[in-house]
Amino acid sequence: MEPLLEVSELTKHFPVKLPIIQRLLSRERHVVHAVDAVSFALQRGEIFGVVGESGCGKTTLGRTVLRLQEPTSGAIGFEGLDITHLKEQDMRPLRRQMQIIFQDPHAALNPAMTIGQSIMDPLLIHGEANEEDAKKAVLDIMTEVGLSPAEELFKKYPADMSGGQKQRAVIARAVILKPKLIVADEPVAMLDMSIRARILELMLQLKEKYGLTYLFITHDLATAKFICDRIAIMYLGKFVEVGDAKAIYREPKHPYTTALLGAVPIPDPDRRRFKTLPSGEVPDAIYPPLGCRFHPRCPVSTPTCGWEARDVIDLLELRALQPDTAAIDEQNFGPISRLRAEGLQLRIPTGQRGIDRVRAHVEKLRGQAPPPMAGAVARTLVEGTDVLVEFQPSQDPGLRAVDGREVRCVLY
């Protein structure tokens, strides 16, 4: 069967505003790689989860799919129709088929409109009904999403309602046009724990009743496990693992998925455990790491994962925290800020220290660096008074088919 939504190689880059001097000096255009060549297909009636940490591009993906943001490249097909470059006027009739539920119900409702008016608005905008019929439809849907007594709540303003009630109103507004696709961007993240389950159950009921298809965006692995049929784990703009939700939770394959699952706190005091956490934080999406984007933090990395000069700088910064290694590195290399990372090449100016001394320290550092990083060094050479350390080039591993799943990792 033809998928409801088909996304191929979808890319969204945001230009970075640099100060004028830097803009003149820098040759390249700097962009934030929010979404990078993401492909997936959504079958009708499916709940597809996109799970990742903040800044991984999951929200941008959801918004770009709905054309709330213009894609940089790639294609979006909705029911077989290519909507990537559809003009806004042609897009509008399709919008009733695709709706969005936002994370923050307080911000998603107009404070000057009553709940009823907010829910009714889409019907009037799309010319679906006259005011009288619209009101009846609103009261019906309000009762259905649990906003009852509907007559009374119709006249209330968002400020008079609880977070859970507001999110119900947002959901009612999204389903009142009987859409086919709903992008739900963290629909329960702002809600209290005791009412999250109710909202998720409501979303499941509505899905059954109206044959909805959800693109469910979340940072919460537990919620995704509960509601999603299939999930994609996203890291720095790319899917790193895609497959059946149950299978991924049972046996994560990508080291990042494993790390994410391992970090989730378990509400059971008997199961306190030592966690092996990835080091550091998500790198800057303006300059994503080469090769596998997770390699600098990966606990099971190999020499072919995409090591580059920047990783050496990070290593030196880490060593600078220990007084003994800090002193040795500084004596032999000078201040870290003098080193230049240029892609695969690390440039170390030798200055007064002499080339031999710097080269000797490079060799010593290779012995002390994590073996995958050390193993990725192709050669060291001398250029003028600089010592260059060069890494072997590597590629993005690409999504590989593993046991009915797709995994972006060189281990498979």
């Binding site: 005791s194 919460d220 790390a259 970090a263 934080e281 998500v282």
Partner: protein
């Protein structure tokens, strides 16, 4: 065991146009030396107000009743002048959102200087050295001292907030949702750091959170708050494994975690604290409520050594 913090019958009333809001309404608990006490509850239960009351940073005009003794000194009766030297030195606070708590126009080094020199006459060099050490204990290089807050990630800002809170070696650290704005991996990293530091500094920690998973992982004891009152208090193991109060049980059942088999939630709406429900405040949402629940206040009873709850039918749930 030595008690660092002791709250007795603590009440905090905010004045509003609709009448006083009883944000915290008769709360009593102790925090022992070196202990981590979790305060858990949902939006509006009064847990952040409690933190503010301890730090003496409630808005002017707020009414405080009862006592909060820190090493014997009643914080509730202290004036601004007497509170100031203690705040940040003896008792430190970490907020939820590090972005809004750092001054965008000050470098990280200036932040440290301000904190240190507010309490003692340290030279610039000395302050810098202490800032460097504090950052190193968070796994951050001293090059970060020259950065402005916007140049750092959320996780790094929160580490800096923690480093700043600890630079004066406080004896009590109040952490109000310290990891809520962070991602799960960074959250786990920060919690590990907090635990290590707590051990190293022999500090007591009052951890305020809505996340029961975090409580289970890092706290020794936990107090469950509902509508301004503590409804249950005990060791983490007792409260999680053998909960007594129906609210605690509902809350535990509603957590969506990786091993959840079914979804569960608590019916009804959180109460309006201007006109809270009479007697047991949970009765309108409680599946076990009987007449006595809206006519009589439940008493605070000890059901097991150190495991207290306020429920008329507590012994039915043992």
């Amino acid at each position: 065991m030595d008690t660092v913090l002791e709250a007795r019958g603590l009440r905090v009333l905010y004045r509003t146009k609709r009448g006083p809001v009883r944000a915290v309404d008769g709360v009593s608990f102790d925090v022992a030396l070196g202990e981590t006490l979790g305060i858990v509850g949902e939006t509006g239960c009064g847990k952040s107000t409690l933190a503010k009351a301890i730090l003496g940073i409630l808005p002017p005009g707020t009414i405080i009743e009862g006592s909060i003794r820190f090493e014997g000194v009643d914080l509730a009766t202290l004036g601004v002048r007497e509170m100031r030297p203690m705040r940040g030195k003896d008792i430190a606070l970490i907020f939820q959102d590090p972005t809004t708590r750092l001054d965008p126009l000050m470098t990280i080094e200036e932040h440290f200087h301000e904190t240190i020199r507010a309490h003692e006459d340290a030279s610039a060099k000395e302050a810098r050295e202490r800032a460097r050490k504090a950052l190193a204990s968070m796994g951050m290089p001293d090059t970060r001292l020259q950065n402005f807050p916007h140049e750092l990630s959320g996780g790094m800002r929160q580490r800096i907030m923690i480093a700043m809170a600890l630079v004066m070696k406080p004896r009590l650290l109040v952490a109000d949702e310290p990891t809520t704005s962070l991602d799960v991996i960074v959250e786990a990293q920060i919690l590990e750091i907090l635990e290590d530091l707590k051990r190293a500094y022999k500090m007591s920690l009052l951890l305020i959170t809505h996340n029961l998973g975090i409580v289970a992982e890092v706290c020794d004891r936990v107090a469950v708050m509902y509508a301004g009152k503590i409804v249950e208090l005990g060791t983490v193991r007792d409260v999680f494994k053998r909960p007594i109060h129906p609210y605690t049980r509902g809350l535990l059942a509603s957590i969506i975690h990786l091993d959840s088999l079914e979804l569960s939630s608590i019916d009804g709406l959180p109460p309006d604290l201007v006109v809270p429900p009479p007697a047991c405040r949970f009765h309108p949402r409680c599946p076990h409520a009987k007449e006595i629940c809206w006519t009589q206040d439940p008493s605070w009873q000890e059901y097991r050594p150190g495991h207290h709850a306020a429920c008329h039918f507590g012994s039915d749930f043992l």
